[in-house]
């Protein structure tokens, strides 16, 4: 007898519906699994066999052929176990009840229990777009799946529960839809209130986040660069539900959800400087997985010790920084992952780290400093709008009980500035923040008075800035003006923006 059960396979961030066809024929007992399965799918035979036996069902001693259609798509992972088991039961008439229009996902344990699988959220979202609205999934994925609105999702603990549900012996109740609540309402683990001193750097952080600019922190070891960077997610606007879904999709595929239903905090990713271009951008020989830049989507990618990263890894960041997404191409196809992140990089001012320090002398020669800094290519630095020096905090600053501003207060100002930008760019496709502005938007929204124009020209002459810095200075000045209420760009806004380009004017 033949049975057809629906499941879905992960392909990048999208799902491709898969039909599990099971045919049972008389003949010598055998089990044939076709349809380009990988090792994990092939091994499902042993799991299904034991799970059926331990759930009180029979594994037929006949010739079994299982086909995963479409046959030319590579299938990977353990999420087809449940569909195969249900298919065998259906084909051997051990299961009554309707299975048409139901999508099955889940990994089987030998005792018949259902284990959670990765990528539930993107799988169900894409199943919905393919017209499915009834899902049977492992109970371990219930929290994540509860955010799929308008679907009947049944979460089962075991294969027995699934059988009883389908036959009507013990129907499960569909999952209740969960209500999204952003985590930003609570206190931040890393709060600016705990960062002592550093007024210059804190201000730069605020400007960078308000305008969606990338940021480079330059300072000696122990100056608190990492601490400052960790505070960035806390001053970013709260994740909206749509953003949260998108972030959760990526984290779900990467298997990083860790039992949480949905990501409610903006991600903060800190890959080590030995990271390769592939680990940053995504890839893999078997299944293509999102890289660090996609995991940082909607949040912050923090690259500590920026010049220590491999040249190839850093240069690979340039295109996603521009496009907000990355397309990974492999022989099996091209996969596009979203990668709209804020880049925050940090570095020492020189190899010994003490350049510019008030009390520790720098032992580096000029050419050593030059060599260290020139590891960062011009085109990459071009994409970093703000460069600020972070200096070591003195002991007095550390122990002072002066009240520092909390992240929540800064976030309120950031959100006000973002609001102004949202209204401004309402009619411009693809532009959400000042940093995204192209030449067209700049000529519309960044009109400089003759006084500002003069000041800008003067600053280029006197401070020997490179001509490429101009548009970035204007964009940052726009953000500074937005933080001040959103009026026109004033001379002091230009001057503040110029002060964040200190690493451009050497040579």
């Amino acid at each position: 007898m033949l049975s057809k059960i629906k499941s879905i396979s992960l392909n990048g961030l999208d799902g491709v519906p898969v039909e599990v066809e099971t045919d049972i024929n008389s003949g010598l007992p055998s089990y044939e699994l076709v349809g380009l399965p990988d090792a994990a799918v092939k091994e499902s035979r042993e799991r299904v066999r034991s799970a059926l036996k331990n759930s009180g069902k029979k594994f037929p001693a006949q010739k079994i052929t299982v086909n995963l259609a479409p046959a030319d798509l590579k299938k990977e992972g353990s999420c087809f176990d449940l569909a195969i088991a249900v298919g065998i039961l259906k084909a051997t008439s051990q299961l009554t009840g309707e299975t048409d229009g139901i999508l099955f996902l889940g990994e089987l344990a030998l005792d018949g229990a259902l284990r959670p699988v990765t990528g539930i959220l993107p799988l169900l979202i894409s199943a919905k777009s393919h017209g499915f609205d009834t899902f049977v999934i492992p109970a371990g994925n219930a929290r994540e799946a509860a955010y799929i609105a308008g679907a009947k999702t049944y979460a089962a603990q075991s294969l027995t529960q699934v059988i009883d549900h389908l036959s009507g012996a013990a129907p499960l109740a569909p999952l209740e839809a969960a209500v999204y609540r952003s985590a930003a309402d609570g206190e931040e683990k890393f709060d600016l209130a705990f960062v002592k001193g550093q007024p210059v750097a804190k201000r730069a952080l605020e400007v960078a986040v308000a305008g969606g600019h990338n940021l480079l922190l330059v300072g000696p070891p122990g100056a608190g660069k990492t601490m400052l960077a960790r505070c960035i997610p806390g001053i970013m606007p709260a994740l909206t539900f749509e953003e949260a879904l998108e972030v959760t999709k990526i984290h779900s595929v990467a298997g990083l959800l860790d039992g949480e239903g949905i990501v409610t905090r903006r991600p903060f990713r800190t890959p080590h400087h030995t990271a390769t271009a592939v680990s940053l951008c995504g890839g893999g020989s078997r299944a293509v997985r999102p890289g660090e830049i996609s995991l940082a989507h909607g949040g912050v990618l923090f690259l500590d010790e920026f010049p220590e990263y491999r040249r190839s890894a850093l240069e690979a960041l340039r295109q996603p920084l521009e496009d907000g997404q990355i397309t990974v191409t492999r022989s099996s196809g091209a996969y596009t992952f979203p990668a709209n992140f804020m880049l925050c990089a940090s570095m020492n001012p020189c190899p010994c780290g003490n350049y510019g320090s008030a009390d520790r002398p720098c032992t580096c020669t000029a050419s050593a400093i030059h060599k260290y800094r020139s590891r960062l290519s011009g085109p990459l630095l071009d994409r970093i709008d703000l460069q600020v020096e972070v200096d070591a905090v003195g002991y007095d600053d550390l122990v002072s009980d002066r009240k520092e501003e909390s992240s929540a207060a800064v976030r309120a100002r950031v959100e006000a500035a973002r609001d102004i930008q949202r209204r401004r760019f309402a009619g411009c496709a693809g532009v959400r923040t000042n940093a995204d502005m192209g030449e067209r938007e700049m000529s519309r929204f960044c009109i400089l008075s003759p006084e500002c124009e003069n000041l800008l020209r003067l600053s280029f002459e006197r401070l020997k800035l490179s001509a490429r810095a101009r548009s970035r200075i204007v964009k940052v000045a726009r953000t500074v003006a937005d933080l001040a209420g959103g009026g026109g760009i004033l001379p002091e806004h230009i001057l503040e923006a110029v002060s964040y380009r200190s690493y451009d004017n050497r040579g």
């Binding site: 001193g197 007024p199 210059v200 804190k202 201000r203 300072g219 000696p220 001012p349 350049y355 510019g356 320090s357 008030a358 002398p361 020669t365 000029a366 050419s367 030059h370 060599k371 020139s374 020096e389 200096d391 070591a392 003067l458 600053s459 006197r462 401070l463 001379p491 002091e492 806004h493 001057l495 503040e496 110029v498 002060s499 964040y500 200190s502 040579g507």
Partner: protein, 360 residues
């Protein structure tokens, strides 16, 4: 560019350089009187007699390479194509000061505007580890004296290249290299060399593609000294190579100026030692302008706001952190960058790293 015409003596000097003939052999071959060789001396027979003087091994190597008059003519054409002029001991343009040097260079390979050598020359030198504010000061001095002098300095990073950058605004920059002009370092000055090649003058005692050993790098200082009619030392540690330059200039009976430093500043100990010994003191470019009759009428008077004057007043006691300045001025942290950037643009202050600023 017309190919320069060299006399026989000049040709011989250039050829020996290219062949790597050691100075002691050269001294034997050439009578000390410049240009004493008759014009027809340079030829195959002359080269043969030179070969006879060389140690056997070197002589055999030379013979094997079959380097004769033809090879040499090609070499001269190559130099001319690269824009390199050779000023030898026997050329009228050879700077007189060089004769008083230990080991006067046989040939100075000049790339760029060789006519700068006919100007009076002002040497400005500083050590590699020069404070940022002093680098700006060196550039300011260079700008000032380049109205009347050609500024001479070496290719080293720090004070020397800062002075050359200042002088380049008028194009009157003479840079003495430690190696051949095509291969000279340091790499961080590559842009500077390109600009000097175009507007100023690069000088080396080595042929264009010659890599000098590192221990010979400080030998360029003697050429800086010989070329400098006056010398200004902007920074020098207690054992700085800059002091060698200063001593050589002093021995030539020429004036040495030095910038005074606060006690305890490592990069100024040598300057203070020079001041105690024989150097004249200067801390502003105006001093030099007055001493050499340089007209400074063009300097503009930049108007300063009351707040800016207060910043300058606060900075008189040394570099300060921008946060401290904001506190003293009663400004919010986001207001101070604008004030400081404007002052920097007006050329009054300079960032010295770590968000600290110093007076210029």
């Amino acid at each position: 560019m017309a190919e320069p015409v060299y006399t026989a003596a000049e040709r011989a000097a250039i050829a020996f350089d290219a062949l790597g003939v050691s100075p002691s052999v050269r001294e034997k071959l050439f009578p000390s009187a410049a240009g004493a060789l008759p014009p027809d001396t340079f030829g195959e027979s002359f080269l043969r007699s030179v070969r006879a003087l060389l140690p056997r091994e070197q002589s055999e190597k030379w013979e094997e390479s079959q380097r004769g008059v033809e090879w040499f003519e090609n070499l001269l054409r190559e130099y001319a194509a690269r824009g390199v002029t050779c000023v030898t001991r026997y050329s009228p343009a050879y700077p007189a000061g060089c004769f008083s040097l230990p080991e006067p260079p046989f040939v100075l390979y000049c790339e760029g505007n060789a006519s700068l050598l006919s100007l009076p020359r002002f040497g400005i030198t500083g050590s590699r580890r020069t404070l940022p504010q002093i680098e700006k000061l060196a550039a300011e001095y260079a700008r000032c004296v380049s109205r009347k002098f050609a500024v001479v300095s070496s290719s080293a990073a720090g004070g020397d290249s800062a002075a050359l950058r200042g002088a380049l605004e008028s194009g009157r920059a003479i840079c003495v290299l430690a190696e051949g002009s095509q291969v000279a370092g340091p790499a961080c000055n590559a842009d500077l060399f390109a600009r000097i090649r175009k507007d100023g003058l690069l000088i080396s005692e080595y042929p264009p593609s010659f890599h000098a050993p590192v221990y010979r790098f400080s030998a360029r200082n003697r050429i800086v000294a010989a070329l400098s009619d006056v010398l200004l030392v902007v920074s020098a540690g207690s054992k700085s190579g800059t002091l060698i330059t200063a001593d050589l200039v002093h021995k030539l009976d020429r004036t040495v100026y030095a910038v005074p430093y606060t006690p305890g500043v490592g990069s100024g100990e040598g300057c203070n030692a020079l001041l105690k010994d024989y150097a004249k003191c200067t801390d502003k470019s105006v001093d030099i302008a007055a001493a050499f009759g340089i007209n400074l009428t063009e300097t503009e008077c930049v108007p300063l706001s009351e707040r800016e004057q207060k910043v300058l007043f606060l900075l008189r006691d040394g570099p300060m952190h921008s946060a401290a300045l904001a506190e003293q001025l009663g400004l919010k942290p986001q207001e101070i960058p604008a004030v400081l950037t404007l002052l920097e643009m007006k050329g009054k202050i300079v960032p010295v790293g770590g968000n600290r600023y110093s007076l210029l």
